[in-house]
Subunit: 145 residues, 2 copies
DNA sequence: CTTGACCTTTACCTAAGGGGAAGGTTTATT
DNA sequence: AATAAACCTTCCCCTTAGGTAAAGGTCAAG
């Protein structure tokens, strides 16, 4: 199987497949005499694994780590479950941050009437939000202002 | 005011301030004879604006766009409000995607008992999820596998 | 024999700076 | 005076996860 076929089957792009190879995650089983990459069924299996791990939110490096645990014959239930739990906690944190931004932006959105007849309140609030204008007016380097 | 003072007041890093300058967003009012950047009160105001725009989720480019509207004397309420609405919609989309990942990962997390005594179900599900194993077993290039 | 569809490597691009090198100023201390 | 601390400058490489060419080799079909 050469790279385009693997791409079609796995849903990855050839570039992504080469990238995972550059990261030493999936090395093609062999090279044809013309230099073309040739993939084994195991290669394909591993690339699918990576695709799925990426699809549920793991980074490439993390996916590679999971792949190593998968390829290893030993049992790694605890480590894997811990990785999933950590990723879940990261996602929760990300979601909370997004919710915070949503709340702030909704607030900002509401404070401007959207009519072109007055100074936009959003801009003014972005300019002043929580900033006390303690510019050094009388300091010794005032002439450098 | 030189760059470190501005950094302290705005909460930005000197590196970020130089970066915004490289993006032509805030050019220091003048340079001292030794080449040091000297910032005016307007510079400071604009850097604060950028900091706040960044803090509510806008990219640097978007923040620069908003800053241009802010610095312009004309009224831009409608455009600004539209930009905020678009950013809100992007955030909603991002949040929905995160919620989807959270659901999937919660599912995965639950399917493994976390004991080291059995093959991890998470790994197995990552390996097979939705993938029909149609590897070309009898195709003409089967010897290349 | 040439066209089109493959494949290869190389290198530059993205966002938003972080980290550090190499070097020039000024200030404070010895 | 000499030197060290604390500034400042520019320049370059690093990060994610590949995308997008460029330049060139290979292969099957018309």
């Amino acid at each position: 199987m050469q790279i385009n076929d693997v791409a079609r089957v796995t849903g990855l792009t050839p570039k992504a497949i080469r990238y995972y190879e550059a990261q030493s995650l999936v090395i093609p089983h062999q090279r044809a005499s013309n230099g073309y990459r040739i993939y084994s069924r195991e290669n394909l299996d591993h690339l699918c694994f990576l695709q799925h791990a990426r699809a549920v939110g793991f980074s490439v490096k993390e996916s590679g780590h999971l792949l190593a645990l998968y390829a290893d014959q030993a049992n790694h239930s605890a480590s894997v479950k811990a990785l999933v739990a950590e990723k879940l906690s990261q996602l929760q944190q990300k979601r909370k941050e997004i919710e915070r931004l949503e709340a702030t932006l909704t607030d900002l959105w509401a404070c401007c009437d959207g009519q072109e007849n007055s100074r936009c309140a959003i801009l003014d609030r972005l300019a002043t939000a929580g900033f006390d204008t303690n510019f050094p007016r009388d300091s010794k380097e005032a002439d450098n202002v």
